[in-house]
Symmetry: C2
Subunit: 453 residues, 2 copies
Amino acid sequence: MLTALRQYCGPRLSTRQAVREQHGRDESPFDMPPPEAVVFAESVDDVVEVLGLAHQHRVPVIPYGTGTSLEGHILAVQGGVCLDVSRMNLIQQINAEDLTVTVQTGVTRNQLNAELRHQGLFFPIDPGADASLGGMAATRASGTNAVRYGTMRENVLGMTVVSAQGKVLRTGTRARKSSAGYDLTRLFVGSEGTLGVITDLCLRVYPLPEAVSAAVCFFGSVDAAVQATIQIIQMGVPIARCELLDVHAVRAVNQHDHLGLREAPMLLMEFHGSPAGVAEQAQAVQEIVRELGGADFDWATTPEARSKLWTARHHAYLSALQTRPGCRCVTTDICVPISRLAESINAAVAEVEAAGLPYFIVGHVGDGNFHLGYLIDPTVPAEREAAERLSHQMVRRALTMDGTCTGEHGIGLHKQTYLIEEAGEAAVDVMRQLKQALDPHNIMNPGKIFTQP
Amino acid sequence: MLTALRQYCGPRLSTRQAVREQHGRDESPFDMPPPEAVVFAESVDDVVEVLGLAHQHRVPVIPYGTGTSLEGHILAVQGGVCLDVSRMNLIQQINAEDLTVTVQTGVTRNQLNAELRHQGLFFPIDPGADASLGGMAATRASGTNAVRYGTMRENVLGMTVVSAQGKVLRTGTRARKSSAGYDLTRLFVGSEGTLGVITDLCLRVYPLPEAVSAAVCFFGSVDAAVQATIQIIQMGVPIARCELLDVHAVRAVNQHDHLGLREAPMLLMEFHGSPAGVAEQAQAVQEIVRELGGADFDWATTPEARSKLWTARHHAYLSALQTRPGCRCVTTDICVPISRLAESINAAVAEVEAAGLPYFIVGHVGDGNFHLGYLIDPTVPAEREAAERLSHQMVRRALTMDGTCTGEHGIGLHKQTYLIEEAGEAAVDVMRQLKQALDPHNIMNPGKIFTQP
């Protein structure tokens, strides 16, 4: 296989140790031997050729965008070749009138937004990292704007995909909706590279709001912050972002970004609309916050002040890592019906406090989704075990609440037992049947989401 | 099979001619021999039992909700048994805090909304008919509110499904978002009964808006009405409904509902929000309309006046049928990127005028979706042929515009060649592989969406 690949790829193939190692790990706390080689695809033809050879030689192929996944999605657990698509990074079409764009798979969200800004448009999905849009689709990513704009599930209109068998498929069109057959787009969104390689995407984009304002406020308890969120959502306030940072997360971003925020559970919110609409939303929210004892309601209406706050929010993960030098983070990602959110957070906090592990919480609370990060010393097995045990407890509780083990990070390697507990053996068997039908030799990112029998 | 079925079902099975015939046709202009029997399922156990027997005897099963599909979805093209689920009509859970409900598959949208109203909530998806929610999911239905609230694709959170092999699956949870494995929910949404039987659904619902107002206005041309719509969407006005009626549709509803509307291309719009927000949206829209020569901008802010207008809109199809006694309607359903909508409508109008067939147009223009209905005399084969030819031309043009052959009605029997033209053989083959994997004996509503080789 490698000989044939090298013949086709020439300098686009690398077997250098450093390149392989860089492509052999993501942001998860797993270690694994790297892939045997890295191929840098530059076109759909390259992808077709690589998958054709892989199919012929029965060699695993692992699609790779920016390597920022959190659940071991890109680890070469069964060896094989890493297919780096980051050079396929052309913005192919911006259709401002239709509010759609077509991009190659390796375009990152920041790259897209830098280009869209000139046309008064933006793409709202923002996982913390500057991930590739293909990778974001593959993990069904979301982020802070999902409460208003949805996730990758709602915002991918169509794709070009190279199937495991090397066929080029178009799924979807540029139409906003369609009832034309099975929803192949949604099947590939969230498939974590196990069914084929996404090579381009048609996405929905949005007009930049006429007015934007952000606000922070602080609460006596996480409970009060969540209650405020529930009331905001229930009143139908079209809030664009509604993020919780617990006291540990606030402390971490204070240290990292020198923000001087009050160290208490905090909501960080953003409102989009007309100037009058934003003012009205903000007033409604302010009343709710006041009733629940929220304090220090503070505005950030200038782009600079807003950007400072949201940058801090996006740094929360890195900032928290720096509070314990040498630590690694075991991140959870449960999402529950919002009425159960406070209960879910409180129980998780009680458990981690009892276990004595350092931690922090950030949450897309408008969606009922939050991340509790356990900051563990990777050289102390007992800490990893404790984090795993606590994480599993959180998931089990979320499932009894009709929630999910992962709101936006995906299953990867780490959450496979959780998926079975959540969906049940019968549903996971259906997933296995779909995989078997589309990738009979199990070459596409094998060993992820579920194991094949 | 019938003997075994009768033994299990007792009086829940009927082979009476009248019952079979009633279950053997939908709103499409197709005629077909009826199913051999009709079973009235009353529980998940009934569905499991019927599918088990069908699987054993290799007999087709056709799920049936209200029989209001438009593309021959429920016709017994390969014989078999109709599985009527309309008695499974319990609203099982309303979780107002979480904005979710759980309903059995046979609950209709009006039944659900009558119940939700007491809690200040509503479910927005409104195809013309009072369809069952399971059927609406199976055809990926939408309607007039989709421009703001999305379609069934966006509003089904999870389901219980009995697979072709008689296994009970849970897909999704009550969480608003999830990255847990393949998106089985979205695979069953739009699968037209070909992969299994939906037995219950968890849906998103919305707070009743504080203020609602509707408005009509009239334009010199369809073009001007569509231009107004494009500008409304592009400005980011969160309009809740934006419907076009052409002069023929306006004339038909005038006759049917005695409305006295000006007989010209008309936009019928609705705004949801706070009182100030609604006023602001309406003002922005009024300015756009005025610039494009729209006239007679007229408000309907009382619930009665609004209801009268929307009832007329929902009657448009029936009203148009009555303009030509004895006619049948061949309905089109293309959806294109909105920048191509006026061109798409104008070309279709020119063609139908040249052919001399009576027609009307209603459109969910905010989505780029419209229905041109050809009113044909079913006893004149040349008229049906002309309608088929014109419809095909519309679809081909929509595909060159990056659009879809069906925005919301589905493929059924009628649009199978269109699906191949739209998605390509490779993508339709993937659909066939999925069907083969989940329903190896092809018992679930066979012959719909695509033919199996």
